[in-house]
Amino acid sequence: MNTILFQLSGALATILLAFTVGMFYGGIRRKIIARIQNRVGPPIYQNFLDVIKLYSKDTSIHHGAMQHMGPVFAITASITSLMFIPVLNGDGWFWFKNLNFSGDLIFLVYMMVFGSLGMALGAGQTGNPNSAIGVTRGLSQMVGYEIPFVMSMVALMAQFHTTSITGLMNIQMQENTWLMFSNPFAFIAAVLAMLGMFHYSPFDIVHAPAEVASGPVSEFGGKYLGLMMSSGSIFAFVKLTLFVDVFMGGAANLIELVIKTFALYLIPVLYGVVSPRYRTEQAITYFWKWPLFFGILAILWASF
């Protein structure tokens, strides 16, 4: 009983951490964009205000059960993926222990898709053509970036003969190195794929403000949008943590985690700030050129 309570509280702590960090990262991103555009920009806690406001909206409109459940799918995906990622190295701090022993990379890759599909279903239910257009763009783009991402993951798994994240982290601890140095090509491919994963500019055709309204979330407002924003924040944290765990040797404590994830987070943000938007097929072909090439190199590197 105790252990279950312990685990639950640990899980809750992880979620809170992820939520907070993700939210702040979002705020920081807005701030960075603002500064680069020579603006003052909103306060970095602006995203909290947005989310709380969204939750506190009185009415919420939905077009049917799937729209109601779509954000739930999304949040389920992010929280579950979070549950299966080791947040800190080794034993870490006891309340950040979670279920990471029961899943591996392949599972995680699939779990991360769960949310997009659920959200897509919710968006589909609304009947707004913009939502559907956004979804098709998002899914198409996903096919693009998942391939180099999985290639780099496969390269790592192949190189170190383990498919679990904990296993990869242990290897990094034992060999006292980061996998981004052991297999640089994998890291490059993964980072390039990560650009797409975050759906930031130039790969923001999914939401494409001013083009397809806001894409999948066109009809979502109030608590639904709030839930989606929360899920997005957690998800951003999940992705960053995954990358840190896999490529950068994980983190021994929270500060290290924050620093590493933030450093990583800057890549898509900064790349995005200065980039215009790719069209969907351009995005796909983008991912299927250099990232794919690096992915193949990574696997070759791993297998020889």
């Binding site: 909103p42 602006q46 506190s56 009415t59 309204a213």
Partner: protein
């Protein structure tokens, strides 16, 4: 139906605080006033520092910004958009046209006073109002929200019959489906 003397509870205070600092704005660029918004939002005046940011659809928006005159044709769309927004929601009438028709005061197909058709929380006058006054308008709206006085939506619901009557006077062949309030 607000009461000045009622102190806000802490929850309401937080709610209002977040509401005022996170205004998702749906700019309905009906008239020439829309040209002032880019200036308001971009580097020089940077409305985002106040938490104001654009929203793509009425579902996500808190604030409806009516920038300029409304012809009867656009009125029905504005009503539609307003009704699609989720509570709490606020309306800013932007420019003289929304107050008295402005330079279209004698036009046969523009409405003269927006407040007769949808409840306006804040008017920003001027033709065009400069970004400074727009920001002042936002500030005013934020003040109202913080004090819990920006309750146009409530008014609209309570006096729906009156609003409908006015709307129907202008809009022949009532085009809207009755909204399921």
């Amino acid at each position: 139906m607000y009461n000045d003397n009622n102190a806000q509870t802490i929850v309401e205070y937080i709610k209002n605080f977040t509401r005022k600092n996170s205004l998702f704005m749906l700019a309905y660029g009906t008239g020439c006033g829309a040209i002032e918004l880019p200036a308001t939002l971009t580097s020089r005046y940077d409305a985002e520092r106040l938490g104001v940011r654009g929203a793509a659809t009425p579902r996500q928006a808190d604030l409806l910004l009516i920038t300029g005159y409304l012809s009867t044709k656009t009125l029905k769309r504005v009503i539609r958009v307003y009704e699609q927004m989720q509570d709490p929601k606020y309306v800013i009438g932007f420019g003289s046209c929304t107050i008295n028709g402005g330079m279209y005061w004698d036009s046969y197909n523009t409405i003269k006073l927006l407040d007769k058709y949808i409840p306006v929380d804040v008017y920003i006058n001027g033709c065009m109002p400069r970004p400074e006054s727009v920001i002042a308008g936002f500030k005013e709206l934020q003040r109202l929200i913080a004090e819990g006085k920006a309750d146009g939506a409530t008014k609209y619901k309570e006096n729906l019959d009156w609003y409908r009557e006015n709307q129907k006077k202008v809009l022949k062949n009532w085009p809207l489906v009755e909204y399921n309030w």
